[in-house]
Symmetry: C2
DNA sequence: CCCTCAAATACAAAGGTTTGCATAAACACA
DNA sequence: TGTGTTTATGCAAACCTTTGTATTTGAGGG
């Protein structure tokens, strides 16, 4: 790799010192207008670029943000989290000259803590933690090291959430809207297919469901709240094996789109029509929701809003070293009515 | 941010010089076994990590690979490229201690050439260019700067492709398989919905289609090769407006899954059944293909293979500074038979 | 006991920037 | 003309490693 042109080279060419060049290129007011212009012209002509490493070494800024996803995704999570979140985030950050390093919480084998890896190596200026089951002690670690970070999309079971910066979706509200919609369509016996993962966001969706029943003076029947893995197959198998249960309900609230898909296919296998025999409301609103048959009625998570708010706050922390009170935003999901719920449109 | 512990600190604690510490931590044979162990123990106890910037400055390696995607994706491309390619790539590279910076070819406004940005700033050690319409002069630029890179997924119109390292999908073969399958099912009048973008890969898919017809002694009818934007809507509208054409064909080869989806919905709107009245073979094999109705018969692109081969080669170039002859692999797509083609399974 | 040689360690420069402080030049004012 | 101020520039240290070369130490051979 050929030797690159440095500030010293420019200095020689412009007959000034390296420090003046540095100031000139950084638009410092300490350097005379005329000199600045000359320096910048020469730099441009010679295709000069700062050496990022040298710069980082002294400024202690890398210009890189780490985007941390949870454990390895299954395909469904891929399409939900990666697809939609990442681009918006990248755009936002790029506008402020930050690059984005994407990682999971740990490496493939789970032996490396990528968060500490990034921070210890001084590889990043800040972090965006997407729905990641970060250990409490990792959060503490980040605070100790003064690393700015925001939590995105879904709250976890942290002891001291008030101290953190976050943008979460109001999943309780999401569950509420889903159930309430089905009730408003006349359903009184609604199965809640809860995603079987010890995450706050899923208990919240269920809490919302319960609340909606109660607000409508319906009995909450624990037998109608079932746990199921968040995959197509698990959901399909569950419903297929629960023919009896299906006779007792007229509607299903599935806690992800993919679970809804599995359920719907299973119902059809049982000779039941969706939404005629059983109505279904899903959750997440993946991009293909409108292409399935029936088209999925589902709860939309405002992903772009998550990204924009989160990035804004992170950027603010990055350049003010801000000790402002933390930003904590709960954003509202909403229902998209298509076909699977059986509502007239 | 608190001051971090450095090699000098460790040196003091271990009563040796900084250079010995450096060598010790890097497992150099120049340092005595006993000293090495002592140094590493102390480093571990004090939570030492190398400062990446300082290290990069002198070694001229950043430990970062740039993953470059084309222009901003539409939603469909997202789910195809990001979802599946990125994770495999990330895993492969992470295993060799590389981090991944993800970027588009240019920034949001198209004003910044991100490739040059990364290279000039010495931010990356190498690049993976996914199906990116890189300008010829950018490739030249990379060669001039001795930056290792691989081209992935789809060939573009480059003048000197023999010089590059690449892993492409054999899209001509893909088109051939699609058409040939339909022919083998008895279809003789097959519409080829070609994606309207001046990219090599789509002309190739069409070439394969033509070749299949010829090999089966069928006339290639240019009227049955139509251009269409690669979106659901464009495809839907096109078919809806071409009722006449639909009477002349019994099958469609759609060059992406999303185009197939649009076509199928349009056909159903026209009262035509898929695959009974019109058979459809799609292309790409997105993860949700099996959840649509009918389930999509489609050409699968072996994405993981792309990622693995590409990364392997890149890593090889990175640590050997290899001037080996370039690696050029054409990998074979294959047909996945589901429902939309109407074949017995 | 001296010399040579190998092994282990230390020294110092280099990598490319930024930045506090010193210096020089220019100017104003008395 | 001298003093004081402002403005523009230069000097040199610092950031933290790596690495070529020099130095020290100790062992072994004569």
């Amino acid at each position: 790799m050929k030797r690159n042109i440095t500030i010293k080279d420019i200095a020689q060419l412009a007959h000034v010192s390296a420090s003046t060049v540095s100031r000139g290129l950084n638009d410092s007011p300490l350097v005379a207008e005329e000199t600045r212009v000359r320096i910048q012209k020469i730099a441009l002509e010679h295709g000069f670029s700062f050496n990022t490493s040298a710069r980082s070494l002294i400024t202690r800024k890398t210009g890189i943000i780490g985007l941390i996803y949870p454990e390895h995704f299954n395909e469904y999570q891929h399409s939900f989290y990666l697809t939609l979140l990442m681009n918006k985030i990248r755009d936002e950050l790029e506008e402020h000259e930050y690059d984005l390093v994407v990682k999971f919480r740990t490496n493939k084998n789970g032996t490396v803590n990528n968060i500490r890896h990034l921070v210890n190596g001084k590889k990043v200026d800040g972090l965006i933690l997407v729905h990641s089951k970060i250990e409490q002690e990792d959060l503490d670690f980040l605070h100790e090291n003064g690393v700015p970070f925001v939590l995105l999309q879904a709250r976890q079971y942290y002891v001291n959430i008030d101290r953190e910066n976050w943008v979460f979706v109001n999943h309780r509200k999401g569950g509420y809207i889903a159930a309430n919609h089905l009730i408003s369509l006349g359903h009184t016996s609604i199965l809640c297919m809860m995603l079987d993962s010890p995450q706050y966001q899923f208990t919240e969706r269920t809490e919302g469901y319960k609340q909606a029943l109660q607000d409508n003076h319906l009995q909450v029947d624990e037998d109608k709240i079932v746990l199921c893995d968040g995959t197509f197959e698990a959901s399909f198998n569950f419903i297929t094996e629960q023919q009896e249960l299906m006779k007792q309900v007229t509607a299903i609230f599935a806690q992800t789109d993919i679970m809804a898909l599995g359920a719907i296919e299973a119902l059809q296998g049982l000779g039941l029509s969706v939404p005629k025999d059983i109505a279904v409301v899903a959750y997440d609103d993946i991009e293909f929701g409108k292409h399935f048959r029936p088209k999925l009625s589902t709860i939309h998570q405002p992903r772009d809003q998550l990204a924009v708010l989160g990035c804004e706050r992170l950027l603010e922390m990055l350049d003010s070293g801000s000790t402002n009170p933390p930003m904590q935003r709960l954003i509202e999901p909403y229902l998209i009515v298509r076909e699977s719920c059986g509502a007239e449109r």
